[in-house]
């Protein structure tokens, strides 16, 4: 049933990472993602994986939940890897069969691409696994605050987003209830052709839209009666504070990524290429 669907993928725990300030987490995630694109060698990837593993360890999120997020991009992952294997025409030719030619550089590129995407998605899902959607919205609101200086109503956008997020569970519940009510009237959603099935959803969609509008109206009344004016002066219910965890987390991140950017800067270094080629492979 629909009730089993949990929204978002927040993993409830009270770990080091969970307790970090969500603004810092977002910023560090951005640094991480930029870092992922600066890595070109397998040593760099190992280093990055090491960082990710430390972060996952500190978050107490089981690896299984992290890997679950990979399922969504599995097709993309395989597709782009296959393209790389067959279409990169550099390096030595390994296999040739009919019109297919596989070069060693293609294999290397495919591997790196898969690693890069995997690291990217795992890092992003670590952020959403350890931060509630509402906290994320608030953090984004704070981070985008400079935009309000040039007249962009950031706080209103953030309000819309957090309202949307907080109403999703109730709307799921409502949908579930309407589906059951129509099923009790012997509605059939599972048989018939495409058009018949699409039509079968009308008895669900219309009550759902109507109840959503009603809900929005009630909410607007409730907010009005509490004197909400959308003014910029309203304060946050949860004040975000940075603590020692944020400092420690940031320091570790800086150390790791300093190494990655150094590696990137020296990628064309002749001495390294000659003496330590494995570092750049």
């Amino acid at each position: 049933m629909l009730r089993d669907v949990t929204f978002g993928q927040y993993y409830n725990a009270t770990s080091f990472v969970h307790k970090m300030d969500s603004r810092v987490k977002i910023l560090l995630s951005v640094v991480y993602m930029v870092g992922v694109f600066f890595v070109h060698s397998y040593v760099g990837f190992a280093w990055l994986t090491c960082f990710l593993m430390i972060a996952i360890g500190a978050s107490q999120v089981p690896l299984k939940s992290i890997f679950k997020s990979l399922r969504g991009i599995l097709f993309l992952l395989l597709f782009s890897a296959v393209l790389n294997v067959f279409f990169v025409k550099e390096g030595t030719l390994l296999v040739e069969w009919w019109i297919f030619k596989i070069h060693d550089q293609g294999l290397i590129d495919a591997g790196k691409l898969m690693l890069r995407l995997t690291l990217l998605v795992c890092g992003a899902s670590l952020l959403t696994l350890t931060t509630t959607p509402v906290d994320l919205t608030h953090a984004i609101e704070r981070l985008l605050k400079p935009l309000s200086w040039i007249g962009i109503p950031v706080h209103i956008a953030a309000l819309i987003m957090s309202l949307t997020l907080s109403f999703i569970p109730s709307i799921i519940e409502e949908t579930d209830r309407i589906i059951r009510a129509q099923k009790a009237r012997s509605a059939d959603f599972d048989t018939g052709g495409l058009i018949k099935r699409a039509k079968a959803f009308v008895p669900i969609l219309i009550p759902l839209i109507i109840s959503s509008i009603r809900r929005a109206e009630e909410l607007a009344f409730a907010m009005n009666s509490r004197c909400y004016e959308g003014s910029k002066k309203h304060t946050q219910m949860k004040v975000m504070r940075m603590g020692w965890r944020d400092l420690v987390g940031s320091l570790i991140t800086v150390v790791f990524f300093a190494a990655i950017f150094t590696l990137y800067a020296f990628a064309d270094n002749a001495w390294l290429g000659a003496n330590l080629p494995w570092l750049l492979f």
């Binding site: 089993d4 409502e174 209830r177 129509q182 099923k183 009237r185 012997s186 219309i206 009550p207 109507i210």
Partner: protein
Amino acid sequence: MSIVAKELTFVYNPNTPFAKKAVDSVSLTINDGEFVAIVGHTGSGKTTFLQHLNALIRVQSGQLYVNDIDVSAKKVDLKRLRGLVGMVFQYPEYQLFADTVEQDVAFGPKNLGVDKDEVEARVKNALTLVGMDYESCKNKSPFDLSGGEKRRVALAGVLAMRPKVLVLDEPTAGLDPEGKREILSLVKKLNVEQGITVIMVSHDMNEVYENVNRIIVFKDGKVLYDLPPQQLFEKEDEIEQMNLEVPFMAQFTNQLKRRGITLKGDVRTVDQVFEAVQALKEGDVC
């Protein structure tokens, strides 16, 4: 025609840390033509139990028979079962969707595969039953009706399926006293005149006490009491311990009993109690 449950158990999210036993080995029989109330707190498993009756929730373990249909079997004739057991959810007016009242009420019988003329007859009949004027309301949009009317139309949508068992989840919630009375007397009429078995969930002990013949109390997924109303509310202390209110008329009868006065017969409504007291008085005088 009866409903028989044997050791019915249902667990939400089985085999996970969030597993919750909502219905815990419930065994009971509801006979033809009974008017039963199911009471209990939120989360006591009453709604989960009721949803088993027309296979909105499939039987996990235990047995359930509705008439001759084995609901616990792997394959159930859902159309027949859902035609037999009409289920009216909380706030049923939120399920209205069609352009006109007529189309909305016809949704159920059409799904059952009833032919066109019969559908029209049933719609007419059901709307009249719930006290709506068929001719004037059939072409109205259901969204233009008042709250009480919407609920009656939604009820008609279930009645048009001609169920033999009517399951109602808090049918009077959110209605004004007048609307409550209308719905209750309608349900009572269906029960008495048409012999429809009615199973009703309610939190209002007064309306339960006056109308039903049997009360089943759920607690933590188990059946705690299964008694006629008078016998149940004689246990005033136990009822109050469960945070259920004792209906006014039951309080009155219990007070009298404590003073050694027993009212004769099954008297539960204000009028019945009034008459019984008056009969006592006259008996005293004579």
